[in-house]
Every structure is written in C-alpha cells, then in structure tokens.
C-alpha cells in the first residue's frame, strides 16, 4: 500500500497547472467578464477566475447557469477548497435533469473530480466518481489518463480483472502505460503472483518509460522497487541485478545503495557489501535515514568479517554520530518552536502563487533543516498541510498588501479632493477676466489712437503741434508760391524746408509704424493667451474631477473588512502552524526514537566487542577507522 502512495505522488506532479474544466467555449462575442473568467480559469489563475465567477453569479442571481457553478467548483478545486467544491460538483453532476451539461462535459467533470480525489489520496471517493463516467463520452485526449486512474483505483480495491481491462485500453505510446504497468507490478507483489510474472511486468514498465517526461528517474524508481521486492522475497540475486542499475546521482540512490548492501550481505558477499555502504555514508547527510541505518550496518558487517576491533571502532563512531544526529533533530524541534523552521520557508514562497496545484518552493540553500524538510515532504499528508499553511501565509500577505493599497487609495482621494477644491476656489477666472477686459480696453484705445495717427498716410497724424502749424502754413503758402516766380531762390528754400520737414515726418512715421505694429502684435498675443487661459480655467471649472466622491465609504468599509479578515486569518494561521508543527514534531520524535534504538544497539554491540578485544588493538584500529 505504501508503494501505491509513492506512485500517486509521482503521477500527481503531472497534473500541476493543468486546467480542470470541461471544454466549454465562450458563447457571446463580447462578454468581457465571462471571457476573462475563461482565460484565467484555463490558464490556471484560479483566484481571479473565482472572483470573476462570483461577480457573474451575483449579476445573474437565481438564473445563474450550471456551467458557471461547475466553473466555480473547478476554480475552488484549483485553490484547494475541496470540501466546498466537492459539494457543488456532486450536487450539479448528480442532477440528471440538468440540460446545460452535455454527456461529454459531465464525463469530463466527473473525471477531473475523480482525479482530484485520487491526487488527494481519497481513493474510494475517486473510484465512485470514476464509475460515473461512460468511456464513450470522455475526451480522447484524456482517455489514457482516465484508464490509468481507473486501473490504479480498481487495483487498490483488489479488482484485478477490471484493472486489467483498463490497463489494456491504454495506448502503449502513452506515458500512462508505464505508470499503469508499474502499478500492476506493485499489485502483483502484494498478491503473491509468481515472481517471473512480476519481473516481466517490471521489465515492460521499464520499456515503456521512454514515453514519459523523465524516463531516467522512472527507470531508477522501477529498478529500486523491483530490487526491494526481490530482496524482501529472498531473491537476492534478482534484487542485486535491479539495484545495480539505479543511477548513483538520482533521488533513489541512497535507498538503492542501502538495499544493495543488504542484498549482497544476504548473498554472503560481505566485502562487496561494504562498498555501497561506505559510498552512502560518505556522500550523503547523516540526517538521511538510510545513512543512519548504514552507520550501524557497517560494523555489523565488519564483525561478520571477524574484524572485531574495527567493528568496535565503527560502533563507537556510529554512537558518536547518533549523538550528533539526535542533537541536530532536537535543534530542529527547537527551531520549530521559535518559528525558525517554517517561517523562512514560507517567507520565500512566490507571492500570489497558491492553491492545490502550486508547488512549495523547498530550496532553502543555507537552512539547517533543508535536508530534513525535503525528506519529510515526501509524505503526501504533510505536503497537503504545508500547502494549506502556505496558502494562509500568501493570503495574509495579500490582505496586508490590500490594506496598504487602501491607504494609498485614501491618499489618492485626498490629492484629488485637494485638486478639486483648488480649482473650485481658484480666483483665476475672475482675475483673467479682468485682465482680459483691461487688455481689450487698452487694445481699443490704442487702435483708436493708431487710426487717428496713421489715417493720414503722409504722417501728419504723428506731427507735433508746432509741426502741424508749420504744415498748415505751408498749405497757406501754396497759393503764394505762384506769386514768387521772381524769387525762385526763396521758393526753392521754402520747398527745401518743406521737403526736410516732410521727409523727417515720413521717417518718423515709418519707424513709429513699425514699433506700433510690433507693440500691437505683442498686445494681440497677450490677449489671445489670456483668452485661452480664461477658456481653460472655465473648462477646468466645469469638468473639475469629482472622481474622489463616493469612494470614502467604500474604502473604509473594505479596510474594516480586510482588518477583521486579517485578525481571523491570523488565528487560523496559528492553528494551522501548530498542526504542521505537530506533524513535524511527531516525525522528529519518531526519528529520534529510531536513532536512540540504533544507538542502543551500537552501544550494546560495542560493550560486547570491548570485552572480546584487547586495548592495544583497539587504539590502533580505532584510529585507522576514523581515518
């Protein structure tokens, strides 16, 4: 049964990040919320999907469709809310009158529900769900996986004939066939089937591993399982053959080396047996339970080889090591109480990554409990509980960041309100209006002046009073010019004077005209600018942003909700932490107990050997062993 669990865990890793939903497509063209719900659901963002689902269900009220409810249940499964999801799924799927669900959809929903229970180790419930599926209705893409799960569950129930049917239905080129044959082999080992048959099935499983994602690792696993089986049934040679094939750098190395050593010992090959055990002792941490067993196995073997003094040294060494291991385990337990054990692990989890399909990041490079933690994580029950704790941790940081976000919203509102009030209380419109009025007045009077001054193109308008009188005099004198024929020199002088005066006047006229048009242009620009300012100020006044309004209450209400939720979550978090801690503590105690047993055996053996050996030999051999 233990082996079944191992396979279940291995297989469940393939389910990660896979969506759980029956194939359903968006019906209406531009239903943005539903479209986004589908996108988040199928891409594994279950939290967003569930949130959008709640909006749609609220919007539709009692008319909410079954499909929406199934999608809700699916997202719940994805977030690890299996109890709620289970209720919903069952209620929906059992109702045969539900016309919204096609047979294919129903079959697929049952399949995913079964798969979920299978992954969780609730195999009886999983089998019930599997029995609801008609093979004809299942999506061809999922057929092999369906047969694999069905076969495994039937084997678990002891219904070998039914299991065989499912196994035969799996395509040989599917990765599931390798797992199915492995499960079959395991079931054979538990059913007293002839070893030749078991061997054949193990070999077949090995052949089929090439279609899996990690064939090397699976081959190692099959070899280890076969080796352990043959060793347990007293077939050392067959065991050795399989164990020899396990890679030396895989995750099954330590177990394979340990069993390999025992298998060789059983075959009286004591010298050869020492080699894998020394390898195991040298290359792996003493916290590894296989190494702990090796520590006592080595002197046991040395004693069998009649190297009693060396065996005594090895027993003493093992005893010291057990002391150290015991202390290390105690330190782990202490770190568990102070929070140094779990908290660093939780602190490094990816924010917003939570739910049943999001794996826990176990890479703690400098943490003293890293090896131990990885070891204890192989237990699926602990994995589930730790995932729950991680989810609570992520939710807690989400709530905290939500509260911070709400404070930022407060600030944003205040800024917007200030801006609004500033615009409303602004005197700019009045000031600009007045300024514009003045400018316009100035412009008008200037225009009048200019028209007066420049109306006369000969520049008379710009002449001074004296010059004007002179010009008038010239006009008066014009009639007298004719009479001055005899005095041409006088006439010429007079005309020269008139010419000089007019020339000077025209010069001044052009310069002044240039200057005036320049000033006029500047004034015109100012007026236009002021007009634009006035327009902008009026527009701003009209459309001043009131977007801060109405959010006050919402923000406050939401903040209160967040705070109370955080308080509740903290309580649950502490309880869950205690639960996880309890599991670890129990595990540590069991490990310590085992270490104590080993130590007792080592000490007893050492005492016995002490009596059997002389002091001189002991000193020499002890130093040699330690070296």
């Amino acid at each position: 049964m233990r082996w079944f669990c191992v396979i279940a865990i291995a297989v469940s890793s393939f389910a990660l990040a896979e969506d759980l939903l029956p194939e359903q497509h968006r019906s209406s063209g531009q239903d943005a919320v539903y479209g986004q719900l589908l996108f988040s659901l199928h891409s594994g963002d279950y939290q967003k999907s569930l949130g959008l689902n709640q909006i749609l269900q609220k919007r539709q009220g009692k008319k909410s469709t079954s499909l929406l409810q199934i999608q809700q249940a699916t997202a719940m499964l994805g977030l690890g809310m299996s109890q709620q999801a289970k209720k919903q799924y069952k209620k929906l799927l059992r109702s045969k009158t539900n016309k919204d669900l096609s047979n294919a959809t129903r079959a697929q929903a049952w399949f995913y529900l079964a798969k979920h229970f299978y992954d969780k180790g609730m195999w009886k419930t999983a089998l019930q769900a599997i029995h609801q599926i008609n093979v004809k209705d299942i999506n061809p893409r999922l057929k092999d996986e369906f047969h694999f799960i069905a076969a495994t569950l039937e084997l678990f129930q002891g219904k070998a004939t039914l299991a065989d049917k499912h196994i035969l239905a799996i395509s040989t080129q599917s990765m599931w066939s390798a797992y199915a044959f492995l499960n079959l082999a395991v079931s054979y080992t538990e059913r007293d089937v002839h070893t030749s048959k078991v061997e054949a099935v193990f070999e077949k499983a090995k052949l089929l591993t090439k279609y899996t994602a990690h064939p090397e690792s699976l081959v190692d696993k099959i070899n280890l399982m076969a080796g352990q089986f043959f060793f347990a049934t007293g077939r050392g040679r067959s065991a050795i053959k399989h164990l020899k094939e396990v890679s030396l750098e895989g995750s099954f190395t330590s177990k394979a080396l340990l069993t390999y050593g025992w298998a060789l010992t059983e075959q009286w090959q004591y010298h050869d047996a020492l080699q894998p055990w020394y390898m195991l002792k040298t290359n792996h941490s003493p916290l590894n339970q296989d190494v702990q067993e090796t520590l006592i196995a080595i002197p046991h073997l040395l004693e069998k080889l009649n190297a009693k003094v060396m065996a005594l040294g090895a027993f003493d060494y093992a005893s010291e090591q057990y002391d150290l291991i015991y202390t290390q385990l105690e330190a782990s337990a202490l770190r568990l109480n102070t929070g140094e054990f779990i908290e660093p692990l939780l602190a490094q989890q990816v924010p917003d990554k939570w739910g049943a399909f999001s794996a826990i990041d176990l890479s703690l490079p400098d943490h003293p409990d890293r090896i131990y933690l990885k070891d204890v994580m192989s237990k699926s029950y602990f994995q589930g509980e730790l995932k729950n704790l991680r989810d609570l941790h992520v939710m807690r940081s989400q709530l905290k960041s939500g509260i911070e976000q709400l404070s930022a919203f407060d600030q944003l509102q205040n800024t917007r309100q200030d801006e609004y009030l500033k615009i409303k209380n602004d005197k700019r419109i009045n000031l600009t209006s007045r300024k514009l009025l003045k400018l316009n007045k100035r412009y008008k009077s200037l225009q009048n002046k200019i028209s007066k001054a420049f109306n006369n193109p000969n520049g008379v308008g710009l002449a001074s009073e004296y010059e004007k009188s002179q010009l008038a005099r010239f006009n008066e004198l014009k009639s007298d010019f004719n009479r001055l024929d005899g005095h041409s020199h006088y006439l010429q002088r007079l005309r020269r004077v008139e010419g000089v005066l007019k020339w000077s006047l025209s010069q001044r006229y052009y310069e002044r005209k240039k200057e005036v048009s320049k000033n006029l242009a500047i004034l015109d620009g100012k007026i236009k600018k002021t007009q634009n300012q006035l327009k902008a100020a009026k527009l701003a006044f009209r459309f001043s942003p009131k977007s801060f309004r109405g959010f006050d209450k919402k923000v406050t209400r939401l903040r209160n909700k967040y705070k109370s939720q955080l308080t509740r979550l903290d309580v649950v978090y502490q309880k869950q932490r205690e639960k996880v801690g309890g599991i670890v503590k129990l595990d540590i105690k069991e490990r310590q107990k085992l270490v104590m047993d080993y130590q007792l055996q080592a000490r007893l053996a050492a005492a016995r050997l002490f009596d059997e050996t002389s002091n001189k030999h002991r000193v020499a051999a002890g130093t040699e062993f330690r070296q």
């Binding site: 990040a17 479209g35 589908l38 569930l50 109890q83 609570l392 709530l399």
Partner: protein, 175 residues
C-alpha cells in the same frame, strides 16, 4: 441489572477513550473548513478591491482598455504581443502554452488598462507567434480611433481565415 450497569460502564469507558480522538478529528475538520471559508472570503475581498481599484484609477471618462481574443485558430500559437499607443510602447506580453490554450478555448485577456485623453489616437499591435509547422509569424495591425469622454475598449482579434487557411489579425472597437 448488573449486566446492564456493567455494559453501560464499558460503553462509557469506550466513549471516554474515543472522545479525544473524535474531538481531535472534528477540530481538524473544523480547521480545514475554516481555511476553505477564509480562502473563499479572501478571494471575494480581493475581487472587491480589484474592482474598486479599477473604478478609482481608471474613471469611466478616461478609461481605455485593450483585450485579446483568439477564436477557432488551431494552426497558430501566439507567442507575444507588443502594444504601441501613438508613439509610446504601453505594454508587451509573453504567453505560456496554457494561456494560448485558454485563448483558444474562448478566453479573453485584458492585456492593457489605462487612462487616455479625448482625441484621435493610434494603436499598433505587434503580434509574434508560430504556426502549426513551427514557422515564426510576425504581424503588425494598426487602428486609428477617436476617444471621447467615455470608456474605450479595443479588441485584438485573432481569427481563422478559412478560405486562405491562415490566421487573420484585426483590431476591433467595442461599441
């Protein structure tokens, strides 16, 4: 009578032995249930916060959003989309296999949300992807659009051109 008394005593003893286990199991089930309730409530709260954020940060008068959809296109897998609004690059997105599948199955992705002032604008989307034979495909679609004082939604639509057996790309305005 004595026999009844004895059996009751035995029953009580058994119950007292079982009681801590039952209480422990019930407490654990309670804890699991409260974790699930918390999860559900937190999801709801976060959704409320998300809605509030959208309402507050992107008011209806200036809101501008771009969506991506891909309908019945089996021969094309989008790899990335880069959006340029007027002359500014506003976002770029890389797709995972699961997200491509989600689009294929009717999902709509809100690729961008922001604020935009009224007036005439130009959105350009550069789409990179691969066809079923693994050949890279790069297309740029451009749309000129006007923005009034109301929300504006555009959709980058990837659809299947059955006649030419290739994907079609377009920017569609939501009315």
């Amino acid at each position: 009578m004595k026999a009844i008394r004895t059996s009751i005593t035995v029953m009580l003893c058994l119950l007292s032995l079982l009681a801590p286990k039952i209480t422990l199991a019930a407490a654990q089930a309670d804890l699991d249930a409260s974790i699930e309730t918390l999860k559900s409530e937190v999801v709801q709260l976060n959704q409320e916060l998300f809605e509030l954020e959208e309402q507050l940060l992107y008011p209806a008068t200036t809101e501008f959003a771009v969506f991506v959809s891909m309908e019945a296109v089996d021969d094309f897998a989008v790899a990335s989309i880069k959006l340029t609004l007027d002359t500014e690059d506003i976002t770029s997105y890389l797709y995972t296999a699961a997200q491509v599948e989600a689009l294929r199955r009717g999902g709509i992705q809100k690729i961008f949300i922001g604020n935009l002032k009224p007036g005439l604008h130009k959105l350009s989307a550069q789409i990179l992807g691969k066809d079923s034979d693994g050949r890279s495909l790069k297309r740029t679609v451009v749309a000129d659009f006007g923005k009034a004082r109301a929300s504006k939604y555009l959709e980058i639509k990837i659809s299947n051109n059955e006649k030419q057996n290739r994907p079609d790309f377009a920017i569609v305005e939501w009315k």
